[in-house]
């Protein structure tokens, strides 16, 4: 088991979002997190990544086991595509740089400044980071935003390969990525805090 979530409650800006969430993720498994805007998809992913404190419950995951991709791309516009990837490659100590360029169809763009890329190309560059490391759990927040149809399909294929090679993914998404095998759908609206109670006002400032 790579990740387990036990009776989790999380709040954002002092407002409790969801409670009593339980699930576990093992290798090869795909977890899709659904629900309307503001239901807490991003907050859940950020909590798993350790970027934000939780109210109740437990998240068990090894810090070296996941790689997080948020809604921001984390792409440096003043660097070229290759320089951007090289940086993350050095940070994660990976050796799959060329594979990442190839799979996300970035080879032709590699010497262009990231600031000159289109939104979808930037997104691809941002997602290419995932292939630079062997970390098994991918925590993805709306990964397919601004990707075109072909890129979406290519990404689904990459995700599928990742799952087949023993990886796992927790993905907040609105679209169907076409992954059925070993997939778990969680609709956060089912866990929504009923009263929507506001925690102590002091907590809102933390």
């Amino acid at each position: 088991m790579l990740l387990s979530i036990d009776n989790l409650s999380v709040s954002r800006g002092g407002k409790s979002l969801f409670e009593g969430l339980n699930f576990t993720v093992s290798s090869g498994q795909f977890v899709s997190i659904n629900g309307g805007n503001g239901v807490g998809k991003t907050t859940l992913l950020r909590s798993i990544a350790g970027l934000q404190p939780i109210d109740k419950g437990k998240i068990v995951v090894h810090a070296d086991n996941f790689i997080f991709a948020g809604d921001a791309n984390g792409v440096k516009t003043a660097l070229t595509v290759l320089e951007n990837l090289r940086f993350w490659n050095a940070i994660f100590g990976g050796n799959n740089l060329h594979e990442a360029l190839e799979k996300f169809h970035l080879r032709k763009l590699k010497n262009r400044f990231a600031g000159k890329l289109s939104a979808g190309q930037k997104r691809r560059l941002s997602l290419a980071r995932l292939l630079l490391t062997d970390r098994p759990i991918w925590l993805l927040d709306e990964p397919t935003v601004s990707l075109d149809k072909t890129s979406k399909e290519a990404f689904s294929e990459i995700l599928k390969n990742h799952l087949e090679s023993g990886g796992a993914a927790v993905v907040a998404t609105h679209i169907d990525l076409g992954l059925t095998l070993g997939s778990l759908n969680i609709n956060l609206e089912d866990y929504q805090t009923k009263s929507g109670n506001i925690n102590s006002s002091a907590k809102a400032f933390l």
Binding site: L51, F68, G70, N73, G74, A78, R86, I91
Partner: protein, 218 residues
């Protein structure tokens, strides 16, 4: 970590990186002061240490908010937080690269500007040494302030109000090293305190800065 330093240095010298902003400010201050005070070399050489030190301090403050805000805006900071490199190391590297791109150029041109302000060639080494030992503290203390204000739009004013009091020990002892050295009085005690402040800042503040960043990114 070397990759991060390398990246920060490249970003600083590329377009929009803000390299040279501090240096240009420093040059302008030091060149304008003699025009304001007048050409009396005796007076000029008396105020020269103070002008160089205050100029260097303000030049450093000018670019502090860039240490974290650019990485915060494009999401890189969040990704660095979940990367294998400890955040304390990230913070130290970023403070160091701020010094290399802002403080170090000031230290290097300070001898020339010292001559401009009427210092003797033999006295210039103290200005150079004091700035070399003191300016790293400006960057690492500044990184702490930048972490406190990251995510605040136009946080520059708050940032300078936060860090300026913390800069005072470095300013007092740094200027003291230089002015005592100029008048041939023993300055070893000030020199030791100046170095101690810089070393203490580098050994303690990265932990505080990392903690503050984690809280600020929640």
């Amino acid at each position: 970590m070397i990759a991060l330093l390398h990246r920060d240095l490249i970003l600083a010298v590329r377009a929009g990186g803000g390299f040279g902003l501090g240096m240009a400010f420093f040059l302008i201050v030091v060149i304008l002061v003699p025009l304001g005070i007048g050409p009396d070399m005796v007076i000029l050489s008396k105020v020269s240490v103070g002008v160089l030190w205050v100029g260097a301090l303000l030049a450093c403050v000018l670019s502090l908010d860039r240490i974290f805000s650019l990485d915060y805006d494009d999401g890189t900071l969040e990704l660095l937080l979940t990367s294998p490199i400890p955040l304390e190391a990230v913070v130290t590297v970023k403070a160091f690269s701020h010094w290399v791109t802002t403080g170090l150029p000031l230290v290097i041109i300070s001898p020339v500007l010292g001559l401009l302000l009427g210092l003797q060639v033999s006295d210039i080494k103290w200005v150079f040494i004091s700035l070399l030992l003191g300016t790293p503290a400006f960057s690492v203390i500044g990184a702490f302030g930048a972490a406190l204000t990251v995510g605040i739009r136009r946080g520059g004013l708050l940032l300078s109000l936060l860090v300026l009091p913390l800069y005072i020990p470095t300013l007092i002892f740094g200027a003291n090293v230089a002015s005592k050295g100029l008048s041939d009085i023993s300055n070893s005690s000030s020199l030791l305190i100046l170095t101690a402040v810089t070393l203490a800042a580098f050994s303690i503040l990265p932990f505080a800065t990392a903690l503050v960043l984690r809280i600020n990114l929640r």
